[in-house]
């Protein structure tokens, strides 16, 4: 089975004496080629859900299946290489490495796996070209605009050809024109390359680009009609 499946996932944080239930019995399936959105108020548990789906956090109970693998049973050291090969993250701010140019940002991810081949190089160029950054390969983050940085981050999430793409408010730091641009590009990559993608957003205007919209409220996830 490919894609992402969460089954009855709960997550509670201990805060002194009280516990916060950030996720309550959440189930979610994302098939390859699906681009789904999660909206909801602040503190409702959206980032927590994404962290669990992305193997950054272990659920308190329930199962998380990524491409058929139950990540709840993995060791911490295996999780990092799992994140590397199976999951592409797009973060709220681009979070690029300041001393690497656009192309090297992508090659770094390849390097975490081992040697960089000329094929990897070619793929990285193609990705950046697709995202309209063909002229900016040698630019450092401080020489790129916010939108361009976010596009580099998108390309970085796709460079390992992982099947799952997770984006946490990828447009939060952008103005609305750039935000549309970036979401359209995520959608294009998801559809072209047949990925299972989840995007958390605050911005209701972005929802028209998504196949399904879920709403998170107090740790409970519901499909929105």
């Amino acid at each position: 089975m490919t894609g992402l499946a969460l089954k009855n996932v709960t997550k509670s944080f201990k805060e002194g004496d009280s516990t916060v239930d950030a996720l309550k019995n959440v189930s979610l399936t994302v098939e390859p080629g699906d681009f789904i959105a999660i909206i909801g108020p602040s503190g409702s548990g959206k980032s927590t859900l994404l962290s669990i789906a992305g193997a950054l956090l272990q659920p308190s109970s329930g199962e998380v299946l990524v491409n058929g693998t139950n990540i709840g049973e993995m060791k911490e050291t295996d999780l990092s290489s799992f994140r590397l090969t199976d999951i592409g993250f797009i973060l709220q701010t681009a979070n690029l490495i300041p001393y690497l140019n656009a192309l090297d940002q992508l090659l770094l991810v390849r390097r975490m796996k081992g040697k960089v081949t000329s094929k990897d190089m070619e793929f990285a160029r193609t990705l950046l070209n697709d995202l309209g950054l063909g002229q900016k390969l040698g630019k450092f983050p401080n020489e790129l605009s916010g939108g361009e940085r976010q596009r580099v981050a998108i390309a970085r999430a796709f460079v390992n050809n992982s099947n799952i793409i997770l984006a946490d408010e990828p447009t939060a730091s952008l103005d609305s024109n750039r935000a549309f641009e970036v979401v359209k590009q995520i959608r294009k990559e998801v559809k072209d390359r047949n990925k299972a993608a989840v995007m958390v957003t605050h911005d209701e205007r972005m929802l028209e680009f998504c196949d399904k919209v879920y709403r998170m409220e107090d740790g409970v996830l519901t499909l929105q009609a």
Binding site: S80, R83, L91, Q92, Y99
Partner: protein
């Protein structure tokens, strides 16, 4: 390595500054080691040059030159016994000399007068002139450094507060003893000078300062037991017994040890701060799948490259400064030693970074998610 090099290229000033500090530490280490080496040569070169395996001193002297007198007859006796192939007598005194030819300058020089047997293994090779001759009791061979002070071949040396006069027949190289240039002369000549006062020979027959022995498996215990008032010492014990030698080396080594510790701490602190500054960055890298190993390797390889380059620069700087040191300064660089200290410094700084890099494990990749920096 990829990250390490890219980052250094990007933040040149920052890394150049740390590099400069490592370079200066390396420079200090090498200068100190050169000084240590120079001082120990000055203190004990003649002793170190003696190709002996075991040394006979007076019992209880702790191999200190000032405290020992032994009977020369022991040397003649042990030769061919107890595994001794060769035994050579050695006597020494500190004297004040003047060059008779240029004595109008009235310049006086402190030197070490070493009495030896011509042709025995203690006698150094001359670089100019002739070796010692038993038939020329007042001929001496002297250290080159006296050449710079105006002593020439054939000059007559006047020993002050004595009527002894010596004649320069040859020059040797690198022969200093007790921080003074060495003058080698006939043992009998030295004995008549050193024991001129009646009774100063402690009643010993053919008194000398020390006897050097050659042989692969000398039975020192047996010699200690069979001869009255003698004690054998190894070469390193004998060198340690030179006046000031132990104290000087201890001082230098202590400073070197502190420098190594300081450089480790500096590197560790620098990179600790670096890692703190880059917590967010490393969190992101971990979130997108970097293992702790990957990040640690990049930190440690960065320190390795930086230290290597800086230490090489430090070596270059050391040899440059050595060029401008005054000739009389006790400074001598031994390339093998420079290399060893360079490698130690490299290992120490890499260890410092290994300690700092350990905190990478504590960085939570979750810091990258759902937060604006």
């Amino acid at each position: 390595m990829f990250l390490a090099i890219k980052e250094m290229k990007h933040s040149k000033t920052r890394f150049a500054m740390i590099g400069a500090i490592i370079m200066l530490i390396a420079w200090l280490v090498f200068i100190l080691s050169g000084l240590g080496n120079g001082l120990s040569t000055l203190a004990a070169a003649t002793m170190k040059n003696i190709d002996g395996d075991l040394f006979v001193y007076e019992e209880g002297s702790e191999a200190a030159m000032m405290k020992t007198k032994v009977a020369g007859t022991v040397a003649d006796d042990v030769e061919g016994q107890y595994g001794v192939d060769n035994a050579a007598k050695f006597g020494q005194s500190t004297i004040i000399v003047q060059n008779e030819v240029v004595s109008d300058s009235k310049e006086k020089n402190d030197v070490t007068f070493a009495g030896i047997e011509p042709g025995k293994f203690i006698e150094p090779e001359v670089v100019e002139g002739k070796q010692l001759d038993a038939n020329d009791p007042f001929g001496v061979i002297i250290d080159e450094s006296l050449h710079e002070k105006g002593y020439e071949l054939g000059d007559t040396i006047v020993v002050t507060s004595s009527d002894l006069k010596l004649e320069v027949v040859g020059f040797t190289k690198g022969e200093t003893f007790n921080h003074l240039p060495t003058i080698f002369g006939n043992l009998e000549t030295w004995q008549s000078y050193a024991f001129a006062a009646p009774g100063s020979d402690n009643g010993l027959e053919n008194p000398v300062t020390m006897i050097a022995l050659q042989g692969d498996s000398i039975d020192g215990e047996q010699i200690n037991a069979n001869y009255d008032g003698v004690e054998t010492f190894t070469k390193s014990e004998a060198v340690m017994g030179m006046p000031g030698y132990k104290e000087e080396s201890a001082t230098i080594y202590m400073m070197l040890a502190f420098l190594f510790v300081i450089s480790a701490v500096i590197i560790a602190v620098f990179f600790y701060v670096f890692i703190l500054q880059k917590t967010q960055q490393f969190g992101v890298m971990k979130a997108i799948g970097a293992s702790d190993r990957f990040i640690k390797n990049s930190i440690i390889s960065q320190v390795f490259v930086l230290s290597l380059v800086s230490i090489i620069a430090g070596i270059a700087l050391t040899y440059l400064t050595a060029l401008v040191f005054p000739a009389g300064m006790p400074f001598s660089l031994d390339f093998k030693m420079v290399l060893i200290y360079g490698v130690v410094l490299l290992i120490v700084s890499v260890l410092g970074s290994v300690i700092s890099a350990r905190q990478v494990t504590k960085i939570d990749p979750l810091t990258a998610i759902g937060r604006v920096e």
